[in-house]
């Protein structure tokens, strides 16, 4: 484990050196990312000038909702920083045969494929997310109890694990298909569902969608469970969500591991 951590740090160091080599590009990525996030936050502020709550009686008033948004920013920034750049590069690696070099190295291929590139500019959003969370929580009517603070980091890890499992399954699809340029688009469409409180998925269309996004592809547990723990009153019912997130995270890691290993066994490599 220490070895993998040491290698991850070496990757991080190399990526930082590379980012600093192309400083203008790095700064532009930070600015673009922060700009997109600011526009989203401005949009939500605009929404709250028309309504005091997202859905009547849901508890998602302005401050709790911004705690929700902050939780999403933190989780997404971790995924975007650690896993997405490598997953995006995988398409090209499979198409050109670059994956061959990964497979001959005495390391877990999944680790190498999913973590060899680290995007430091994505941490900018995470830092803003932490600030936004502190602001939102300090203005909420109720203070989160110690158990909520203790569970929150664990649930952030669970959310990241669920998304990581999805990234790995998309990567496995890339290996099987030989080319999967829509990987990032598909990821964006899928994770879109996780950006809003689960309560908005109700009615004849929303209900089934909520079931699918909770039990089939547990995308709704990613942000909702940690955000609910920190931004809503912590009750006995909250433990159900915690258990669901932990189980979904474990299942996501196990299933994605199996799928990835099977995909690697069917890897064809590109002609030289």
């Amino acid at each position: 484990m220490n070895r993998y951590l040491a290698i991850l740090l070496t990757f991080a160091r190399a990526c930082l050196v590379r980012d600093m080599t192309f400083r203008a590009n790095f700064l532009l990525e930070c600015v673009t990312s922060l700009g997109w996030m600011s526009m989203n936050l401005a949009f939500y502020l605009l929404v709250f000038t028309y309504t005091a709550e997202i859905g009547k009686g849901t508890g998602w008033s302005k401050e709790p909702f911004f705690a929700f948004v902050a939780t999403g920013l933190i989780i997404n920034s971790i995924v975007q920083a650690f896993f997405m750049p490598s997953a995006e590069e995988l398409t090209e690696m499979v198409r050109t045969g670059g994956l061959d070099a990964v497979l001959v190295q005495p390391l877990d291929a999944q680790f190498l494929v999913s973590m060899h590139r680290i995007d430091f500019s994505s941490f900018a959003n995470g830092a803003v997310g932490v600030g936004l969370l502190a602001w939102a929580v300090s203005r909420m009517d109720h203070a989160p109890p110690p158990v909520a603070w203790a569970l929150y980091p664990l649930l952030i890890v669970c959310g990241v694990a669920i998304l990581y499992g999805l990234v790995i399954m998309l990567a496995a699809a890339t290996i099987l298909m030989g080319r999967n340029q829509s990987l990032y688009d598909f990821w964006f469409y899928l994770t879109n569902f996780s950006r809003y409180p689960a309560e908005i998925y109700s009615g004849p269309w929303g209900g089934p969608l909520r079931m699918i996004c909770t039990f089939v592809i547990p995308i709704l547990l990613v942000v909702n469970v940690p955000a609910r723990v920190i931004a809503q009153p912590f009750t006995g019912e909250s433990w159900g969500g915690v258990a669901a997130a932990v189980i979904a995270a474990a299942a996501s890691l196990v299933v994605s591991r199996i799928v990835f290993q099977r995909a690697l066994a069917r890897y064809r490599s590109a002609s030289s």
Binding site: T10, A14, G98, D100, L103, V104, A109, S272
Partner: protein
């Protein structure tokens, strides 16, 4: 197959690579021409099986330097990918250093290296020194040993000044030298080289030949090389395995391939001035006139008898007797196999 492995005794004594009936079949989807056919192909695709490697048997002993030769698409690189565990075979068995390659055990992967001349394995935007450092972590190389090995390798290839320069700024030859350094840092017992000198100038080729020969001898490393350059083979390999259409056509020593598949020697005569054609043509051998130089192809069985007679011709300043170039022998081997295959197909 034309020959069995003449190094079999050595190979069996300390076999490092053992391959039996190894085959790899790919399913290739046909891409129809035209818009309508392309749309139809969305719903119904036709495919066919392509056998890239067909039941190859091979044993390579420790310390051997073996060349895999064959035309494009013969299955050389596929065989290397199977032996390095990148792809899984359709059938057959293989053991490299006692491991089944496609099980990808870490202990196996720590003991071999693969260098592909057409692919870059170093970090593109960073100096090679950063890739070397990462390599040290991945292969768990002791820091003192790493420093020693890296310094020795960069000095042998005279690339010390390049290791702090971003890889993308280096020439192809410089990059390949650094790729070799990276591949050898963990002191692999087996080295797979896939066209390592492709696209390199003669100076870089020569440097790499010297380097590989030196390292291989010092470490008693087993090397399997695929190449289209006969200079690589002549400079480095004692054993040659010729592969065509996924099958082993010849497996034997380099000296034997020349002996078995050539019927003549090439005699080059340098005259003071261009000789009369009749003077040379009277010997009855194919000849080529290049001003004051004449190149004769003389039957090997008759060379001892004929050569004194040829040399007696007036005005000869210099003479050389050489084997047919390896390129020519191997090309003829490929051509004869193609002819045999076409004849077999016509007959069936």
């Amino acid at each position: 197959m034309h020959n069995t492995d003449p190094n079999a005794a050595a190979a069996v004594a300390d076999p490092v690579i053992e391959v039996e009936g190894l085959a790899k079949e790919y399913r290739v989807f046909d891409k129809p021409e035209g818009l309508a056919a392309s749309v139809r192909a969305l719903f119904h695709r036709t495919s066919r099986a392509v056998e890239a490697v067909k039941g190859v048997d091979l044993v390579v002993g420790r310390g051997e330097f073996v060349a895999l030769l064959g035309p494009n698409g013969a299955g050389k690189t596929t065989l290397l990918k199977l032996l390095s565990g990148i792809i899984t075979p359709t059938r057959g068995t293989a053991r490299v250093l006692g491991h089944v390659p496609w099980e990808r055990a870490d202990d196996f992967r720590r003991r071999f290296a693969l260098v592909m001349g057409q692919r870059n394995q170093l970090w593109w935007d960073l100096p090679a020194a950063e890739s070397f450092r990462l390599h040290q972590e991945i292969y768990r190389i002791d820091p003192a040993r790493f420093e020693k090995t890296r310094n020795a390798l960069v000095d042998m290839l005279d690339v010390r000044r390049l290791i702090l320069q971003p890889v993308r700024e280096l020439s192809l030859g410089e990059r390949m030298k650094l790729e070799l350094v990276a591949a050898l840092l963990h002191e692999p017992e087996v080295l797979f080289l896939d066209e390592p000198t492709i696209g390199l100038d003669v100076v870089a080729q020569h440097t790499i030949h010297e380097f590989l020969r030196d390292v291989q001898r010092r470490r008693r490393m087993t090397v399997v090389l695929t190449t289209h350059y006969m200079k690589d083979v002549a400079a480095l390999c004692e054993r040659v395995v010729v592969i065509t259409r996924g099958d082993v056509l010849y497996d034997g020593s380099l000296a034997e391939i020349v002996d078995r598949f050539t019927t003549h020697k090439i005699v080059t005569l340098d005259f003071d001035e261009a000789p009369e054609r009749a003077l040379i043509e009277r010997f009855g051998f194919p000849c080529e006139f290049r001003g004051p130089q004449v190149v004769l192809r003389i039957d090997r069985s008759r060379i001892a008898d004929v050569l004194p007679e040829v040399l007696a011709a007036a005005g000869i300043r210099d003479v050389s007797v050489e084997d047919v170039p390896l390129e020519e022998i191997v090309a003829e081997l490929f051509r004869s196999d193609t002819r045999a295959h076409a004849a077999a197909e016509a007959g069936s």
